[in-house]
């Protein structure tokens, strides 16, 4: 296809044939979005500690996900697609933290989450915000993926782009650290 043939079609909103077959249908995307958007937002918001940033990164994650879908780089299956989405979000968070102007989690208010967590949640959940402030971004990601999303070590390694054997020890240390922080705030295992 020459550019003279392709350009009018693209300008009219038609997709080139190659991507048309691979692209996700709008309804299928809406269903996938319905299933995955809340957990993804929870991950981004809790790990970044910034609600507005979570909104932005969630949208960007889905836009990139759809772009990757058109390029046929997304694996098949709902679980694999979700994992891929979390991987995109994780990379976006990493990019954000790499930027020099990125605010640290210590600067971010946790009041919003604390207020929400207290309503019908356990004490430990409401204390999680302050305890999270003591953790590094990577530790927050590890802990969230392991204990909120309940991913296996192998899945966490895939999402975070780390070696699988190192996850176990990193997770163990992060868990011990946050458990200590939670205990210091008066939380105990039920």
């Amino acid at each position: 296809m020459t550019w003279q043939e392709a350009l009018p079609k693209i300008r009219q909103g038609e997709r080139p044939l190659q991507t048309c077959e691979a692209a996700m249908d709008h309804d299928a995307f809406a269903e996938f979005y319905e299933r995955s958007s809340r957990p993804l937002w929870a991950y981004l918001a809790r790990v970044s500690g910034d609600r507005a940033l979570a909104d932005d990164l969630m949208q960007e994650s889905y836009v990139r996900f759809l772009g990757a879908f058109a390029n046929r780089t997304v694996p098949d299956g709902d679980v694999a697609m979700r994992k891929y989405l979390f991987r995109i979000a994780t990379n976006l968070l990493k990019d954000y933290w790499r930027r020099p102007k990125a605010s640290s989690i210590e600067d971010v208010s946790e009041e919003f989450f604390v207020a929400r967590d207290c309503s019908g949640q356990s004490d430990s959940a409401s204390m999680l915000g302050p305890a999270m402030k003591t953790m590094s971004p990577r530790e927050r990601q590890l802990l969230w993926l392991a204990h909120a999303e309940e991913y296996t070590h192998k899945e966490i390694a895939e999402v975070m782009g780390l070696a699988s054997p190192s996850i176990r020890i990193m997770l163990f240390r992060a868990r011990r650290k946050i458990a200590r922080a939670l205990r210091e705030r008066g939380c105990h295992a039920v």
Partner: protein, 161 residues
């Protein structure tokens, strides 16, 4: 640090059966074992936080995201198509620049004798009888060329944006 019962605790937590399905003996173990205690404490905290955060998640229309993705894909496709054209434009510009510099170098070696050649053409015969000199005509031509090139540059800049 190893614990023989942490898989048992993980299993109950994973199925959401902790602490209801745990026997008294296992609860006592969790109370005494720091590894299992940490596991239960952290898992419950994160699970509770996840529920809270999911309730707080904003409801955005998937159509907006879908539309943004389509716009970006279209933009990427257009850029891909425009890349060879952009290359041709750069090539033409570089070629013109090289020719211009080459011409200037050649003329400099000849002592800028092009004015003599221009005079030999008797261009003043084409000008009105009002007495406009050749220098004014050259300046006007240069201004015209700059204006046209400026317009082309602005057009290309706007198109790219």
């Amino acid at each position: 640090m190893r614990c023989e019962r942490d898989n048992e605790v993980k299993d109950l937590l994973g199925r959401g059966h902790w602490p209801e399905a745990a026997g008294g003996e296992l609860r006592e173990h969790v109370a005494a074992c720091s590894k299992c205690g940490d596991l239960v404490l952290v898992a419950e905290a994160f699970r509770g936080a996840r529920e809270g955060a999911m309730q707080a998640a904003p409801v955005m229309a998937p159509g907006v995201i879908w539309w943004r993705a389509q716009v970006r894909r279209r933009q990427a496709a257009l850029e891909q198509i425009a890349r060879p054209m952009w290359g041709a434009q750069v090539f033409a510009f570089v070629l013109t620049l090289v020719l211009g510099v080459g011409l200037a170098v050649v003329e400099a070696r000849r002592g800028f004798s092009w004015q003599d050649g221009a005079r030999a053409l008797h261009l003043e015969a084409l000008m009105p009888a009002g007495g406009v000199s050749l220098e004014v005509l050259v300046v006007a031509a240069c201004v015209g060329v700059v204006a046209v090139l400026g317009g082309v540059v602005v057009y290309l800049g706007v198109e790219r944006r």
